[in-house]
Symmetry: C7
Subunit: 96 residues, 7 copies
């Protein structure tokens, strides 16, 4: 999780997410079956931008487990790991 990349926020905050391994069942007990249509994906936030151009700070923070849309974000493969960079708005919910 020591990622030396800082997302740039333009008109919206951006975050970098490390997707969870497929089929995983987290400690929080949330399990997402494969049969779901437009199944949201799960991952961990590893880097967040500073506030966006309107001064709004990101809501999520590094370490948060989040659900996001299957088509959210852009692939960011770094040093053999696959990350996603996305607008914070592409994140649906935070596991609490």
């Amino acid at each position: 999780m020591a990622l030396n990349l800082k997302p740039i926020s333009g008109t919206a905050n951006r975050v970098i997410v490390e997707p969870a391994a497929a089929e995983e069942k987290t400690a929080s007990g949330i399990y997402i079956p494969d049969t779901a249509k437009e199944k949201p994906s799960k991952g961990t936030v590893v880097s967040v931008s500073d506030e966006d151009s309107e001064g709004k700070k990101p809501t999520v923070k590094v370490g948060d487990v989040v659900l996001y849309g299957k088509y959210g974000g852009t692939e960011l493969p770094i040093d053999g790991k696959d990350y996603l960079i996305m607008r914070e708005n592409d994140i649906y919910a935070v596991v609490q």
Copy 2:
């Protein structure tokens, strides 16, 4: 209804809704026949975001029975139950 998920509000508030069982007739006496075109669906709010990026608090609250558009929201299957996450704007009305 103990859902450990908090929706993220971006430019709009989001809510998680647990759809009502089909054909159900609630205590409020509202019955929605199958013959309706673009029949709105009914459900119960189980989680709501904090205020959106413009500081507007959600209007609905956990426990509200709501009607929403048939195509509103994204499926969110969790632990065997089917939830929907949607923008509050996709909700038409609250049963009172």
Copy 3:
């Protein structure tokens, strides 16, 4: 007209309208022939949202007879009656 449903106003106010019976000629003497192209429809407001996200209160009130676009609103069949839920902006005019 005792409808236990409250519309949610998002970015715009919403109202629930009970359409008038077809071909009806109201006390106000307004008669809309069938030959009109894109004939507006007539109905009675039965429920209105609170102010919208910009603090604007609805202009119409419960009991108002209104004209609205033929394609305005979403069908809302409840207990055997057909209602329409629409943005207040879909209403053209109020009969006075």
Copy 4:
């Protein structure tokens, strides 16, 4: 011109216009030949909304003779007469 209908202004002011008889040559001497492409139409304002959602009052008033786009407005046939309801923005100019 005693029309018991008040337009609703949403995001824009609305007016009800009674179209002039075709080929008419008004006292103001403005004559619009048939050969014009996208010929603007002429009519008389018979009802105007109150100020729109941003507090802007309509510029035209009841009795104004106006030119408007051929495709502006929605037909509003009432008691045998053909009116048009349109956004004030669909009006090009006022005859002075």
Copy 5:
């Protein structure tokens, strides 16, 4: 140039322009050859709206010779003369 028509400004100022005769070479010495792609047209402003909905006054005034896009404006044939009504934004430049 005694035109008894006042443009309505909605979200943008509007002007009425009397197009210059084709191929004309004005006193200002500006000559626009026929071979130009998307050749701008030249005309004289004969009527302008009052300030638009945001309080901005028009920049051009009656009598200004202006260049405007070939597809700008709507034809406004009045009393045998061909005028154009357009948004001030459709005007490119003023001859000085």
Copy 6:
């Protein structure tokens, strides 16, 4: 460069540019080869509008050598010379 034309700024500032002769290598040493995809063009600003509708003054000034998109602007052939009128936003950069 004595051009008696003043661009109108609407929602954006406009400038008139005299394109540089093709293949030219300027004193600034900037040379743009023909093989570039979507090669930006180079030219000299000959006239600029006053501030736009939001009060923003243009950034470029008469005499600036600028790079602009190949498809930016509208042709403005005047007295045998080919000018371009464009939004200031169509200009990428100023040679310094």
Copy 7:
């Protein structure tokens, strides 16, 4: 890196980027394999605009190593080198 070009900021800040040589592995250890879909590119900022039309200063500065979308920016070939000019918003992240 002595580039005598200053980007113009319109509604958004612009930067000029010198793309990194392909397949390079920087000191920061970030390596982007070829197999990535929509692989972001890496480069060095060589020139930035002043603040944009809303007074927002650019977040990146000359010398920053940045990741940007494969389709971001416009080619700007100067004196035999290939630069890209892009909106700051097309930059995803800064290597730290």
